[in-house]
């Protein structure tokens, strides 16, 4: 749009997504200033963080959760914003809902008061997580004040080994580049490994860009993108779609584009990856040993020591065999249909270990319906998983799904921060959905390739 007095740029946001945790306060801020929502047709709302996954009957059992939902309902109604409420068939985690409805389209600038907005970059969008004051700015002006970003191209080439998934790819990238390696950057993922991925896999990769410190993730739109969007509820059909497709294709970055940095990865180096510590970069291949705290600066060593203390893990011990008590499959990282399909395929004929509480939480009502249509919920239930209603669930514990005490959770979510899953001493081990399934069956961190006898390529 133009530049501001302090040198920042004013950037128009084509799509604004909101949810109940970071947005209600912004409506209050608007009211204080006597402002209206400028372009209500460009904002869409859903409820995900606080929604229980056992029963969603109203009023919600938690009074404050009920109140947050009510504020979202009344604010969206007052300002003419479309709200994907529970039981409408469209509710779900905000980063699952946007793409599956086709609201997310190539070339868009997208923002949401949620750091995992990076997910939408999988469609060739610039998708930014923002704070509540910025939600206010977007509601009032449909624009944001922004500093320019540098771009790092992350090339990943080659075929992934059997049992290695998109989740392992992004955990590996973060492990190598660090949790703050991306500060000041947008990450553009490219290379044959990425172009061969489905849209849902690309979303998993972009989703965790923020865990690497990057402001957003991006993948060039291509035929895979267009095929995914074709027929989606909010995407035009016929000749209008063809015209859009041509325009979308034009948004792809050029072969000879300039990058501030380029990093290359070989897909064959990537193993099923699990975290051992309290940041997503504290990750190792499932066959490796937990690191020791004898290298790096004093602060680096302190980081390893304090992470091991918190996790109650021993340096130099194998991560495989670490007992778990909870298994969680879901979240905006890995709560889409293909995630549940992949697990259903391997878990048939296996049973969750008797001491493990295992839950599968579809990312949206659409994912739930599609999974049920395929009978996946029965496969999960037969194996000993509970099949829940859609929501953020155990990713962040703002709803009743929480760890108790120092339980260890094998989790397909995105953050293993201290206390993240609702207990101040709870422990999270991040991994792919099939690795969570393997851990659930074994009752301990395990290699899905061994548990499910996946044959090597």
């Amino acid at each position: 749009m133009g530049s501001l007095a302090n040198g920042q740029y004013q950037v128009f946001m084509a799509l604004h997504l909101i949810h109940e945790v970071t947005s209600p306060q912004a409506f209050g801020m608007l009211k204080d200033k006597g402002l209206k929502v400028a372009y209500p047709g460009r904002t869409f709302a859903t409820v995900d963080h606080i929604i229980p996954t056992d029963t969603q009957a109203r009023p919600l059992a938690d009074d404050m959760a009920e109140r947050m939902l009510q504020v979202l309902e009344s604010s969206t109604a007052e300002h003419g914003i479309e709200f994907f409420a529970p039981e409408t068939g469209s509710q779900g985690i905000v980063h699952v809902v946007g793409p599956e409805l086709g609201l997310t389209q190539p070339g868009m600038t997208i923002c949401c008061g949620d750091s995992h907005t990076a997910t939408h970059g999988a469609f060739g969008c610039i998708a930014l997580g923002i704070g509540t004051s910025q939600v206010r700015d977007v509601l009032a002006s449909q624009t944001l004040a922004m500093d320019p970003l540098k771009v790092r191209k992350i090339n990943i080439n080659g075929a992934l080994k059997k049992g290695v998934t998109a989740k392992d790819v992004i955990l590996h990238v973060i492990r190598v580049l660090g949790v703050n390696g991306g500060v000041g950057y947008a990450y553009e993922y490219a290379g044959s490994t990425i172009t061969n991925m489905t849209m849902e896999e690309r979303m998993t990769v972009c989703n965790m860009s923020i865990e690497g410190g990057a402001r957003c993730g991006y993948i060039n739109p291509d035929e895979t993108t267009f095929d995914y969007l074709s027929g989606k509820e909010r995407v035009p059909t016929g000749t209008e779609f063809d015209a859009m497709k041509a325009r979308w294709a034009s948004f792809a970055s050029d072969e000879d584009a300039h990058y501030d940095d380029v990093v290359d990865f070989d897909a064959s180096d990537i193993e099923p990856t699990v975290t051992w510590g309290v940041t997503p970069a504290q990750a190792i291949g499932v066959g490796e040993r937990i690191p020791t705290a004898d290298t790096g600066s004093e602060l680096d060593q302190e980081l390893v020591t304090s992470a091991l203390d918190y996790m109650k893990l021993r340096a130099d011990a194998p991560i495989k065999g670490t007992p778990i008590q909870v298994a969680f499959i879901g979240s905006c990282t890995n709560g889409r249909l293909s995630d549940f399909e992949a697990v259903a395929e391997v878990i048939k004929g296996h049973q969750v270990a008797s001491h493990v509480r295992a839950i599968a939480v579809p990312g949206s009502e659409k994912v739930d319906a599609a999974a049920r249509a395929l009978g996946l919920h029965e496969v999960f239930e037969a194996a000993g998983f509970e099949w829940r209603k859609p929501g953020c669930s155990m990713c962040l514990a703002m709803n009743p799904d929480k760890l108790v005490g120092d339980e260890v959770c094998a989790s397909s979510s995105n953050r293993n921060f201290m206390g993240r899953q609702g207990s101040s001493t709870g422990r999270t081990i991040l991994m792919s959905p099939i690795m969570v399934a393997a851990a659930a069956v074994e009752g301990a961190v395990a290699d899905a390739r061994e548990i499910f006898e996946l044959e090597a390529v």
Binding site: M1, G2, L4, A5, N6, G7, Q8, Q10, F12, V21, T22, P24, Q25, K33, L35, A38, Y39, R42, H49, I50, D62, M64, M68, V71, G113, S115, G129, I130, G131, T132, S133, R136, D137, A140, S141, Q142, T143, L144, A145, D147, V179, N180, V183, G184, G213, T279, L299, D300, E302, L303, S306, L396, A397, R415, F417, M418, G419, R420, G422, S424
Partner: protein, 195 residues
């Protein structure tokens, strides 16, 4: 919103790299529809155990009571975009954060709220943290114009994102009025994209 160039206050050092916003404000405290009550919940699980017993966190040390300048290490504020984190920091009474580096969303949230984020290299920062531990009663003077903190007659250089520094010095760190000033241009972009 007024211009901000010099800020005085006592300091407190909270050590650690990669302190994420879940640690700054655990998710259960995000159940609220206003930010007003967040102050006491700042760093809650770092300050108190599951029974509410104090863990002797620096923020609760007698000598740091009333401190308004928080010093930490690298990648401060990473993770969740929750503005609840800087809101809790501000409501607790902290109005400047000094660190090796900041996560970007957190940095942006702080700036809009009027909390300058100062990047200070490891050497001066650890010296400053050491001095604060030994002489906690004295005030630091933060000078955004001169890009230095003065403490006990010693000067500690820092850097800032130029756009943030500019915004504080001009008193435009909350950008909303400026954004709204281009209503017509915004409307033109909306119309073009809607076509």
């Amino acid at each position: 919103m007024s211009e901000l160039s010099k800020i005085a206050g006592r300091g407190v050092y909270v050590a650690g790299n990669d302190i994420d916003t879940d640690r700054i404000i655990p998710a259960r405290f995000l159940k609220c529809v206003t930010f007003d009550e967040l102050g006491p919940s700042l760093f809650f699980d770092e300050r108190f155990d599951a029974n509410g017993k104090s863990k002797d966190h620096p923020l609760d040390a007698n000598q740091h009571e009333g401190a308004s300048i928080l010093i930490s290490d690298a990648n401060f504020g990473c993770g969740s975009s929750r503005e609840h984190a800087p809101q809790a920091i501000q409501k607790f009474g902290i109005n400047v954060v000094i660190a090796e580096s900041f996560a970007e969303i957190f940095h942006g949230n702080c700036t809009t709220l009027g909390i300058p984020c100062l990047q200070m290299a490891a050497e001066p920062r650890s010296e400053l943290a050491r001095l604060i531990e030994s002489e906690p009663g004295e005030e630091l003077m933060v000078d955004l114009e001169a890009l230095q903190v003065v403490y006990l007659n010693q000067s500690f250089p820092f850097s800032m994102k130029p756009s943030a520094r500019e915004a504080f010095l001009a008193g435009t760190f909350d950008p909303l009025d400026e954004l709204l000033a281009s209503r017509e241009a915004i409307s033109a972009v909306d119309a073009r994209l809607s076509a």
